[in-house]
Structures are given as structure tokens and as C-alpha cells.
């Protein structure tokens, strides 16, 4: 018995040792799996983006196209929604393991440039792996920081007013280019009187709209390092906003909250909503009315304060395959077939090759094209507002604190103070 016991224990000890060794080997094996080179010269790059299902379907098609033309490069897709994307990205990047190529937006450039995450694509362009030509309207500058090209635009978008066409028609109001804020709010009043629905879904919590309003008045939301307005400016903006919530001109925030993730416009709670023009496609899918793009109201009857923003592609500074990554970005922004597949999902296609390759056939895409043409013709487009590091956090805070004002939970003056204090922390971070 005693003897047998010892033998058994020894066997077990060996078994335990063996399984530990196996576990160790397993860990080594996985570690090796992380590397992306292989014997026959094939490399794998990781490509990550955020967005809805239509975007994912389209992007996967473009990846297949790329892999066919570049058989030595395999692309591993990673995708999720916007908020989860940046949480995940931050964690991956801090651990030195972000995707090789990823979708990027203006608000994140300086933050990740400061943290050394973004590859300067200019060097790759100089080496001939990537062309930076044929970007009209100066959108290429959207991806530049301190003389570096840390992102390349895939599209160009601008803020717009999305309106419920049927509601506007029924109320007999019309959105005209160059209309003023007073005219806009008068139109909302008419809609409220005639149709018994709110006019807007909550304009005063949208940072990018406030930016336009400030630009109309000779300021901007950001300077290179700070906020470009005063606490008093913002207090006034939020006081006006809250007044309009109470009068019913702006939809009840309690109801807006409950229809999320659907928009309050497509839920029929209000007749208009400010957003980026390339987002307008969502309303047709969500709501029952017809939706169209209308001009941004102005202060002086002319200037809308608009500029072209961009979704872009960036690369990780520590990627093992900078050359392939540059080739991939080049293909994604210049290849006409890719343009035809992607359409205006990420804004009007940024390069002339792709812009010419896509001829919109549906009402929505036609509308986006017409809108951007109209804006460009009106000559209202200005230079993009700078986005200091932390702009993304400020945008989220603006939305949240604006929501508190709408709910009547925070006084506009206190809310403005809170935003300034949070912004200060965000810029320092």
C-alpha cells in the first residue's frame, strides 16, 4: 500500500510536470503564431475598422479584391462599433499590439501621434509604395500633423441637416441655402404647431454643430491646444437649447433616450437632426418617412462654417510590414473598383479615381453627392478646425453634459463649467 502510493504519486508528479511543460510549449507556440511572416514570403496584416454591417460587407469585398491582386499579402479583418473600437484600440496600442492598418478619424490623430502609435506614411510615399496624389479639395491635409502624413483620407464628409421630407412638406416649410438660425427655428415652430412633433432631436449637444456655429462667429471649438470659446459662450448656447426643450421645439430627451440606438428622427419624434452627411443612409433603413439633406443654418445669411472632414486609414508605427501596409492603403484609396464597392459610406470618395468610378444610383447616395456639390459651389467650405489631443474625450463629454442640460439636471452655467474642467483634464492626458 505504502509502496504503491509512492509510485502512484510519482507518476502523477510526472504527469503534472509533463502537462506544465506542454502548457509552456503551448504558450511559446502561440507567441510564435503572433508573428506574421511565413516561409513562402506571404505576410499577414491586420486591418481594423468600426461601422455598421453594410460597411463591413463592403470592406470584406474590397479585401478579397486586394488579396487577389496581391497574393503574397493576407489581410485579417477586425471590426466592431465605434465606441468599442476605440476602447479596444487603446488597450491594444498600449500593449504594443494594435492592428497594422486601421480606420481613423480627425479627433484621434494628435492623441495617438503624441503616443507614437502612428506611422508617418510620407516616408512610404517617398519610397514609392503609396501615392498621395489626386486628393482634391485639400482633404489630404486632414491626415497631416506637424508635417507628417499620419493618416490618408478614404472619404470626405461634412455636417448636414437631415430632414424628414414628408414632415417639412406637410408643414409647408422649406430649407433654403443661406437660411438663418432664426428662420430655422421659425420653421421648427411651424412644424410643431402644425404636426405636433418636435422640430429637432437635440442640436445643442452635438460638438461638431457648435463648432460650425462658433466658426460662423469668427471662433472655433478648438484651437491648437485648447478650447476656442468661453464659458459664457457655451452657457448661452445651452441656455437657448434648454429653453427650446421646454417649449417642445426640441424633442423630449426622455423619449430620445429610450429609442436609442435608433435616432429620434427616424423614430418620428422630431423632424430634423444634425449629423455628418454620410451617416444619412441610416435614416432610410430605420424610419418610415423619406429623408433628405438640407443646408446648415447661418448667422449672416451666407457662411455655414462648414469644412470637409474625413475618415482615414492609418498604420501602426511598429508594424513589421510597413511596405505591404502602404501598398494596402494605396490600393484602398486609389483603386477604382474599391471605390465602386464602397460608395459614399465613409463620405464622398476622397481620390478622383474612386470618385469617378462610383456613379450613385439610389436616392440617398445621389442626395449626398448633390449636397456636397452644392456646398462646394456655395464656396462656404473652410479649413478644418484643429483637433488637439483629447478632442475625442471632449466630444463625448460635450454630448453627455449637453444631455444633462436637456434633462434639466444641470444648469447651463454649471454644465459649461463642468465641460471646461473635463476638457482641461482631457488635453493634459
Amino acid at each position: 500500500m505504502q509502496q504503491g502510493g509512492t509510485v502512484e504519486r510519482r507518476t502523477i508528479l510526472k504527469a503534472a510536470g509533463a502537462s506544465l511543460a506542454v502548457a509552456g510549449l503551448g504558450a511559446t507556440a502561440t507567441a510564435c503564431g503572433g508573428g506574421s511572416g511565413s516561409g513562402d514570403g506571404t505576410v499577414t496584416i491586420r486591418y481594423a475598422w468600426w461601422g455598421g454591417e453594410p460597411r463591413t460587407i463592403a470592406i470584406k469585398k474590397t479585401i478579397a479584391l486586394f488579396e487577389k491582386k496581391f497574393p503574397k499579402i493576407k489581410v485579417k479583418p477586425e471590426f466592431t462599433d465605434y465606441e468599442a473600437f476605440w476602447e479596444k484600440f487603446q488597450t491594444q496600442a498600449s500593449g504594443g499590439n494594435p492592428p497594422d492598418v486601421f480606420q481613423n478619424a480627425v479627433g484621434f490623430l494628435r492623441k495617438y501621434d503624441k503616443r507614437g502609435v502612428l506611422l508617418d506614411l510620407k516616408t512610404q510615399a517617398d519610397a514609392g509604395n503609396l501615392s498621395l496624389d489626386n486628393f482634391p479639395n485639400g482633404v489630404l491635409a486632414n491626415g497631416q500633423v506637424d508635417g507628417k502624413q499620419i493618416a490618408v483620407p478614404v472619404g470626405a464628409n461634412t455636417m448636414a441637416l437631415v430632414i424628414d421630407l414628408k414632415a417639412f412638406q406637410k408643414a409647408g416649410v422649406e430649407a433654403k441655402f443661406g437660411w438663418t438660425w432664426d428662420e430655422y427655428f421659425d420653421a421648427l415652430q411651424t412644424i410643431q404647431d402644425k404636426l405636433k412633433i418636435a422640430g429637432d432631436t437635440g442640436y445643442f449637444s452635438i460638438m461638431y454643430l457648435y463648432d460650425l456655429y462658433l466658426r460662423q462667429n469668427g471662433k472655433a471649438f478648438f484651437t491648437d491646444t485648447d478650447l476656442g470659446f468661453t464659458e459664457d459662450d457655451l452657457t448661452q448656447w445651452w441656455e437657448d437649447g434648454y429653453k427650446r426643450v421646454r417649449s417642445g421645439l426640441v424633442a423630449d430627451p426622455k423619449k430620445v433616450e429610450q429609442v436609442k440606438p435608433k435616432s429620434a428622427l427616424s423614430a418620428g419624434l422630431a423632424a430634423s437632426e444634425f449629423t455628418w452627411d454620410n451617416f444619412s443612409i441610416r435614416y432610410e433603413g430605420e424610419g418610415e418617412s423619406d429623408y433628405g439633406l438640407a443646408p446648415i443654418p447661418t448667422t449672416d445669411g451666407e457662411a455655414t462654417g462648414q469644412y470637409l472632414g474625413s475618415l482615414m486609414l492609418s498604420a501602426f508605427s511598429g508594424t513589421e510590414h510597413p511596405e505591404e501596409v502602404a501598398q494596402f492603403i494605396d490600393f484602398m484609396v486609389h483603386d477604382p473598383e474599391v471605390g465602386a464597392i464602397m460608395g459614399y459610406d465613409r463620405g464622398i470618395l476622397a481620390t478622383t479615381e474612386q470618385y469617378e468610378a462610383f456613379k450613385p444610383t439610389d436616392a440617398n447616395n445621389k442626395g449626398v453627392a448633390a449636397y456636397e456639390e452644392q456646398v462646394a459651389e456655395a464656396g462656404v467650405l473652410g479649413k478644418i478646425t484643429p483637433h488637439p489631443s483629447g478632442a475625442d474625450v471632449v466630444e463625448a463629454a460635450f454630448l453627455r453634459i449637453g444631455g444633462e442640460v436637456a434633462q434639466g439636471k444641470t444648469k447651463p452655467a454649471d454644465a459649461a463649467e463642468a465641460l471646461f474642467s473635463e476638457a482641461k483634464a482631457a488635453f493634459a492626458g
Binding site: R9, E87, R115, K254, K255, E257, G403, E404, A425, A426
Partner: protein, 318 residues
């Protein structure tokens, strides 16, 4: 009444399975034991103890995940105590704990009392009441809750029947926290099962004797049941309050990940999450985490201290 907290009395004389003779044998046996425990020990050290110690250090630093942490002393704590959103999160969490825990335990005890009596199909009832505890923490139930408490949904319509027209709770900062409280109460099954076990332990003779003495049901409950199950009650209060302090999932899902509207469901862990993972202020988030640990430890200490006054342990002899 004398208190005997724990009395692991082992029958004297016989020891269970004598260990192998000699020091070497014992050491070998210990080694084997540790080896078997090694996955757990490794997990504990790498995934629990290590990160905890690291976060204790980070609590005194400014750390954005990218640049090395910088020692800032107590800055995080002073900023935190002055931060209106932190204060709000403490308020929301305390309200949640103080309202949800007692209500949940009351319901659990009530149903346990009903189910303790022998009746047909009692297994089925117990399973049915326990079920929400198994699924209640899931994300899908969070979505269901969001739907239930929205405008013109079940809760809203039912309220209207009683003339209480407050609209959906989800979008209303004054009510939304109570939808989370309701979700917590709905999961009363786990403490209920523990109560049931406690109720089974109460010696039947006591009730018989009381009945002979002419005690009514209320009196029997107050003077026999409650004192006899007080250790179980203590255990449940402790467990459920600690649990309530750490609520996260339901607040996160029911509020569509924003812990709003207007920060109305900004529970402590949700703010911690936002600070740490959205804003990358890991130092601040670590300071928050350790403050929560200390706060929960204090609450636990107070509960343990208070048990002298109301928890009756049966004497060891039986």
C-alpha cells in the same frame, strides 16, 4: 447566550488517514499538493494578486497606459474627492445598495418561508424562483429590461391603469435607477435558496413547544425563526451588500453603455470603467478601485461588529 463562532470538533482519537512516515515523505507530499494547486496559484498570482498590487501603485501615479506612470502622491485621491461625477457615482451606488439589498432580502425571505412548507411541486417552484438568479446578470436580460421599462411598454401601460403616468423609466433620470433595483430584486433566488437551507435547520421541537405554550404564527416567526436563522440572514446581508456595491453589468446594458441619462445610473464601477478604459486615466481609476475596496471593507467590518447585537449562534452541542 454564549457565542461559539466556529467549533470544528473532530472526534478525538482517530486521525484520518495517517500521512506517510518521515519528513521526506511529508515534504514530497506537500510538493505534490503544491503542484496540483499550481494552476490556481499561478492564476491567483498573475491574474489577481499581481494586478492588485500594480493597481495599488498606479493609484498614486498619473498613468495613461502609454507613457510610464508618474508618481503624484495623493493627487488622484484629492482630485477624486472633489470631482462632482465621482460624488454623483457614490450617491447613485449608495442609493442602489440601500434600496435594492433590503428589498431583495425581504422578498427572498418571504418566498423562502412559503416554500419551506411541504407541498406538491415544491421543487418546481424553487427552481422557477431560482431561475432569474442564473440568467439575471446576462446582457440579454439587460436588453429585455430596457424594453420592459420604455415608453408604452409593459411597465408604462400597467402604471397607467393605476393612473400613474410617468412614462418609460429608461429615459427618465428620476426613475431609471429603480429599474435596476427591480432587476436586482427579481434575482432574489440565490439568497432565497440560502434562507431555505437555514429554515430547514430550525429544530421542529421548538415550534411544537411554542405551539403548546400558545404562541401564534407571528410570535413563532419573531421569537424562533428569526433568531434561529440570523446567522444565515447575516451571511445574506453581507454577501448581497458587497455584491450590490459592485453592480456594473445591468447599469451598463440598461443605459445603452452610457450609464445615463444624465448620469442617473452612473454606478461606481461604471465611472471607474469610463475613467480607466475610455479616458485612459488608469491612475485615477486605480485610486477609485482601492477606495471602493476600503469602503466595502469598512461596511463589512461594521456588519461584523453589529452581529454581536443581533446574530444568534446556536451552541455547539446538539
Amino acid at each position: 447566550m454564549t457565542l461559539v463562532k466556529e467549533a470544528p470538533v473532530r472526534p478525538a482519537g482517530k486521525r484520518p488517514a495517517a500521512p506517510p512516515a518521515g519528513r521526506r515523505g511529508r515534504r514530497r507530499e506537500n510538493l505534490a499538493g503544491y503542484l496540483f494547486m499550481s494552476p490556481w496559484i499561478a492564476g491567483f498570482l498573475l491574474l489577481t494578486a499581481g494586478p492588485m498590487i500594480a493597481s495599488l501603485y498606479y493609484a498614486f501615479t498619473s498613468y495613461n497606459l502609454f507613457t510610464p506612470p508618474q508618481w503624484v502622491g495623493l493627487d488622484n485621491f484629492t482630485t477624486m474627492f472633489q470631482d462632482p461625477r465621482w460624488q454623483k457615482s457614490v450617491e447613485v451606488t449608495l442609493e442602489y445598495v440601500v434600496v435594492a439589498t433590503p428589498l431583495k432580502l425581504l422578498l427572498a425571505l418571504g418566498v423562502a418561508l412559503l416554500l419551506a412548507q411541504k407541498r406538491r411541486g415544491q421543487g418546481l417552484y424553487r427552481a422557477a424562483f431560482y431561475m432569474p438568479s442564473l440568467i439575471g446578470a446576462s446582457v440579454s436580460v439587460g436588453f429585455v429590461w430596457r424594453a420592459l421599462f420604455s415608453d408604452d411598454a409593459v411597465v408604462d401601460r400597467t402604471q397607467k391603469i393605476f393612473g400613474l403616468d410617468v412614462g418609460g423609466w429608461i429615459g427618465n433620470p428620476d426613475y431609471v435607477l429603480y429599474s435596476l433595483v427591480a432587476l436586482s430584486i427579481w434575482q432574489f433566488g440565490a439568497p432565497m435558496v440560502i434562507f431555505l437551507a437555514g429554515l430547514k435547520q430550525v429544530p421542529q421541537e421548538l415550534y411544537e413547544a411554542a405551539e403548546v405554550d400558545g404562541a401564534g404564527p407571528l410570535r413563532r416567526f419573531w421569537n424562533i425563526t428569526l433568531p434561529m436563522i440570523s446567522p444565515v440572514l447575516f451571511f445574506n446581508v453581507l454577501l448581497e451588500s458587497i455584491h450590490a456595491f459592485q453592480v456594473f453589468g445591468s447599469a451598463y446594458v440598461v443605459s445603452d453603455t452610457r450609464c445615463g441619462p444624465a448620469d442617473a445610473t452612473l454606478v461606481y464601477t461604471c465611472y471607474l470603467y469610463q475613467k480607466g478604459f475610455k479616458e485612459a486615466q488608469m491612475g485615477f481609476a486605480s485610486a477609485m478601485a482601492w477606495t471602493l475596496v476600503i469602503a466595502v471593507a469598512l461596511v463589512t467590518a461594521v456588519l461584523f461588529w453589529s452581529q454581536k447585537k443581533w446574530v444568534h449562534y446556536e451552541e455547539a452541542a446538539k
